[in-house]
């Protein structure tokens, strides 16, 4: 009876399934496992501008034998986050107009992939609606003084002044003479139509905000059809850096560096990155880490209120903030990424302190605390992750195991066959997860993947569907011990984290994920492997820290160069 409802698979699919099974071999925590070898010690650019490994010399040594293939990055539209931040920095507004835009879809885990940032008429209309509201707000008190430094009644001279200041910042580069002339033509048309001086400036600002040079971040090639790689122009590099770290337009220092031609070498770029990572404007945790870890949308989770009365969207917000602050510290202090799993500090506010059962913190904000309770520690003990990988009415050790393999190891198991028949919810919830999941072992097809996934998830069974600690499940004490197919044994969250932290795939996976985010394109398994390896390897001396990985990303040819597309 027990096994019969578990699998109803047409015979024809059996070979397919066995094929999948083969895809689930592998082990966790095996330090001897090969992670792929970099293609030489660097990826020579062919133009003699930097080594690609972040040594900061920028002197023109090309150590690799392979010519750079930076790949193609599709022109990126500002996504919701980037739009909100950009108009804030550009105009001083806090209105966050993009919050009501059609949501951006994620591809390869992130919402900044140019290929997938589509622009439907409805969305463009939203950009227009936002532009109109922003014009009104920007040209009225109190923002008018900072946005308009001349008297519109003076006509073209004020329009020209406006374009050289606001226009440069909106386009994230100086406007060309021809572009300025076109805007002056527009201003003239509006005047002819009877527009007041303010309406003239308003129309110019609206055009700037609706321009393809604002809504997109164009990067140009000398020959748009040539595959020949070339360094990005200085202002384009400033934007790549600023959208990587700030999710916004370049700040004054980046504009100044671009103007002075100081973004050409690896050292230049890394100097800027170093500065930016400690700037309060950094949004790396919100824009990158929350997506990497899959916790961005946890406020919308709706666990059954009868089963989990302690849950509230506010608590979920605090959980997410904890992840942000934790990740930030790794960047700021350049801590080894492996310690994400094993660190004994975290950040809590009053509600999280109560929730985790740690001593209360003073004030209304977050405080850094050392964890003394064995119940918490490392990423996998954080409410955000545990909530994000649960169902509305129960934990899902399978989902948690899958999450670890996917997000942390970049080794997602294939999906189950579509015809797999789960037992009814009554059966699932009638017994403990451990008892229930034992069924996976009775079937070799299931076991191929679940023998790795399930033990990982079961090690976290002390945390319920909203991440609260529990000692029992269905009246039985929780057994959080586990063994992987290769014989590796661990016990509970802490044991699992120690095991995972030793797995060399973790750093490679993080490097791949950072490159995907930083480049705004898919990381190609073949061509980009050398970039990933170079980032993961770091710059040489000492342990590789989180900041080192980011330094490696911006030093790579893939980040600093581009090419056209025939």
């Amino acid at each position: 009876m027990k096994a019969e409802f578990f699998l109803r698979i047409p015979l024809v699919s059996l070979a397919f399934l066995l094929g999948i099974g083969a895809g689930c071999k592998g082990s966790i925590g095996d330090p001897g496992m090969p992670v792929g070898s970099p293609n030489g010690s660097g990826t020579g650019t062919g133009t003699g501008t930097g080594t690609g490994t972040g040594t900061g010399t920028g002197t023109g040594t090309t150590t690799g034998a392979v010519a750079a293939e930076p790949g193609r990055v599709t022109v990126r539209r500002l996504n919701q986050t980037e739009y909100n931040n950009t108009v804030h920095d550009l105009l001083g507004t806090n209105s966050q107009p993009a919050s009501v835009f059609i949501s951006d879809s994620q591809a390869n885990g992130f919402d900044n992939n140019g290929d997938f940032l589509s622009l439907s008429p409805t969305r463009l209309e939203q950009y227009q609606t936002a532009a109109e509201a922003l014009v009104t707000e920007a040209l009225a008190a109190p923002l008018r003084a900072q946005n308009l430094t001349c008297d519109p009644a003076t006509g073209d001279s004020c329009v020209r002044t406006f374009l050289t200041t606001m226009g440069t910042r909106a386009y994230r580069r100086p406007m060309t003479d021809a572009e300025i002339a076109d805007y002056l033509t527009l201003a003239g048309q509006v005047r002819t139509l009877g527009g007041s001086p303010d309406e003239v400036i308003g129309a110019v600002l609206k055009a700037l905000l609706m321009s393809s040079n604002f809504i997109f971040r164009p990067e140009l090639d000398p020959d748009p059809t040539s595959l020949k790689p070339h360094l990005l122009a200085p202002y384009e590099m400033a934007s790549r850096l600023s959208y990587l770290v700030y999710s916004s337009m370049p700040d004054d220092a980046l504009f100044a560096a671009a103007k002075a031609g100081q973004l050409a070498t690896v050292k230049d770029v890394q100097t800027q990155l170093q500065r930016m990572l400690t700037d309060p404007k950094s949004r790396l945790s919100q824009s990158y880490a929350e997506q990497w870890l899959g916790v961005r949308a946890i406020e919308t989770a709706q666990p059954d209120p009868k089963l989990y009365p302690a849950f509230s969207p506010a608590l979920a917000t605090s959980m997410k903030r904890e992840v942000d602050l934790y990740f930030d510290e790794f960047v700021r202090q350049n801590l080894p990424p492996e310690q994400l799993l094993t660190a004994s500090f975290t950040y809590v506010d009053t509600s999280l302190a109560t929730y985790y059962g740690v001593p209360p913190v003073a004030g209304t904000g977050f405080s850094r605390v050392m964890l003394t309770t064995p119940q918490r520690g490392g990423l996998l003990g954080m409410g955000a992750l545990l909530l994000a990988t649960s169902r509305g009415n129960r934990t899902s050790p399978v989902a948690r195991g899958r999450w670890v393999l996917d997000a942390l190891m970049c080794a997602p198991p294939p999906p189950p066959p579509a015809t797999v028949m789960l037992p009814s919810e009554d059966v699932i919830t009638a017994t403990s997860s451990r008892v229930f999941l034992a069924m996976h072992r009775q079937n070799t097809v299931c076991a191929a993947c679940h023998s790795t996934m399930d033990p990982i998830g079961l090690a976290l069974e002390n945390y319920d569907a909203i991440g609260s600690w529990r000692d029992t499940d269905h009246g039985m004490p929780i057994d959080a011990s586990g063994m992987l197919p290769d014989g590796t044994q661990f016990n509970g969250r802490a044991g699992l984290e120690t095991t995972l932290a030793k797995d060399p795939r973790l750093r490679n996976c993080l490097s791949k994920s950072l490159l995907t985010y930083g480049l705004g394109r898919a990381v190609r398994p073949d061509v980009d492997a050398a970039y990933v390896d170079a980032v993961a390897k770091g710059t040489g001396a000492g342990p590789v820290g989180m900041r080192d990985l980011l330094m490696g990303v911006v030093a790579s040819d893939a980040f600093r160069m581009r090419r056209g597309e025939p």
Partner: protein, 456 residues
């Protein structure tokens, strides 16, 4: 029965359809502009009286397509296998009983074009209205049925691409498919998704913004002219930029230029306001719970149709799979829909199915309460509902849940249960488009003829 000329969907057909649509309804718009200040909604009796001959024979036809997630629980969905008008309602369909005469229930419909045997919660939504299998990792599906209809109307209404509404922005990727497939059923072209608007307040503004009632008409004219100048400016600039880009980037600029053109059209053709919101106030953008969000969406859709702001709407009552940890406290169900479907929890799934049907019923009853001079708005519409997959456990595309309400103005034989063994859903779309006076003979991958037995 097959009275449509033998034509494939093409540019020529489109042009002639657009011409026809632009003529109809003729001067109602001009009349409404002047009446807007005092009149609550169009299609009040007084207005219909003014336009009686046209209204009786040529009420606008509408197409509204609903998506529900995770398939259905078949045992309680399909009527007993009795074809024709004398079938017995299944429990999940029971809410629709009062509309039986205006309903078409299908058994046996397949949409295998949209997915393969091992289906997906991403390919399913993308294929539901396109009847095309999406590619990966690059986005490419097909044009969706609502968009074929919208495009046939051209700029007859304020939204040449119709309206798209949804309830959630949660999207996920499965089996390497782009996540956009999961959250989008409307496709303007094989590569251009039209994602639904989630925020009800935004939809409200989409319908009702565009005119400042306090501005004089001279002011309004000037503002329109300035807006046009701005759009001309950004168009020229984008074209110049486009000339300096590579192939894929050029396509992105094409999307931009299409959008700008659509805004231009709207400025040129937009009536000041063809109706007012009446008793409906602008809803909040966030914080609506699932059932409230649904009922607000229903009200907005009805309003948009009443105002003739659009004649083509798609509505996602949840995205594919709806894998969020959302439970159904208002139905007394704990557990999430996707999990319940995998577990084939019959009672819970049937309750959810019935709730989906009850929402559809509510919507259709509202349309049915609007008199359009002898027939109701529902009569003059086609309301289609299906799900991204057949069964939430098998993830198949066979024997799908397909409901059609309304007769597109008496052109569809409603009031029956049709057993269409393994007919492609694409053929149903050929028939529905024909009923909507779009003379296509093919649709999607497998649609080669109008489905037998439904066209009058």
């Amino acid at each position: 029965m097959n009275r449509v000329p033998s034509m494939t969907y093409d540019e020529k057909a489109l042009a002639s359809q657009q011409k026809q649509a632009a003529k109809q309804p003729p001067s109602r718009r001009r009349f409404l502009v002047s009446a807007a200040a005092t009149v609550g909604l169009p299609w009040l009796e007084s207005l219909a009286g003014r336009n009686k001959a046209k209204a009786a024979t040529a009420s606008p036809q509408r197409l509204i397509c609903w998506h529900t997630p995770n398939g259905i629980y078949r045992q309680n969905w399909f009527p007993a296998p009795v074809a024709g008008p004398n079938y017995t309602f299944s429990s999940s369909l029971m809410p629709l009983a009062p509309l039986k005469k205006k309903l078409l229930v299908f058994s046996g419909m397949q949409n295998n074009d949209a997915s393969v045997v091992f289906g997906s919660h991403c390919l399913g939504p993308a294929g539901m209205l396109t009847c095309v299998l999406g590619t990966k990792p690059d986005i490419k599906v097909g044009i969706s049925v609502d968009q074929v209809y919208a495009q046939s109307l051209g700029s007859a209404t304020r939204f040449p691409q119709g309206l798209q509404l949804g309830i959630t922005s949660d999207m996920y990727s499965d089996i390497g498919n782009p996540a956009i497939y999961n959250g989008c059923i409307s496709w303007a072209s094989p590569t251009q998704p039209l994602q639904p608007v989630i925020q009800s307040g935004v939809t409200f503004d989409q319908i009702f913004m565009g005119a400042d009632p306090t501005a004089s008409s001279a002011d309004q004219m000037r503002r329109k002219a300035i807006s046009s100048s701005v759009l001309d400016h950004v168009t020229n600039e984008a074209k110049s930029l486009q000339g300096r880009l590579g192939t894929t980037d050029k396509q992105k600029l094409d999307e931009y230029l299409t959008g700008v053109r659509s805004l231009e059209t709207k400025i040129q053709t937009m009536p000041a306001l063809s109706c007012t919101p009446g008793a409906v106030t602008k809803p909040a953008d966030t914080g609506l719970d699932w059932p409230t969000h649904t009922s607000v969406s229903i009200d907005l859709m009805v309003l948009a149709l009443q105002c003739d702001a659009t004649r083509s709407i798609s509505f996602m009552l949840g995205n594919g799979g709806d894998k969020s940890a959302r439970s159904f406290p208002w139905l007394g169900i704990s557990g999430d829909h996707h999990g319940l479907a995998h577990a084939q929890n019959g009672p819970a799934l049937s309750t959810i199915d019935q709730w989906h049907v009850s929402q559809l019923t509510l919507f259709c009853q509202k349309l049915d309460a609007i008199d359009e001079g002898g027939s109701t708005m529902l009569d003059n519409s086609v309301v289609f509902m299906s799900s991204e997959i057949g069964s939430g456990i098998a993830h198949d595309q066979i024997n799908k849940s397909v409901l059609v309400l309304g007769s597109a103005g008496g052109k569809i034989t409603t009031g029956q249960h049709l057993i269409v063994q393994d007919q492609p859903q694409a053929n149903l779309f050929v028939a529905l488009l024909n009923a909507l006076q779009v003379p296509v003979t093919t649709f999607g991958t497998a649609g080669k003829k109008p489905l037998d037995g439904i066209l009058v």
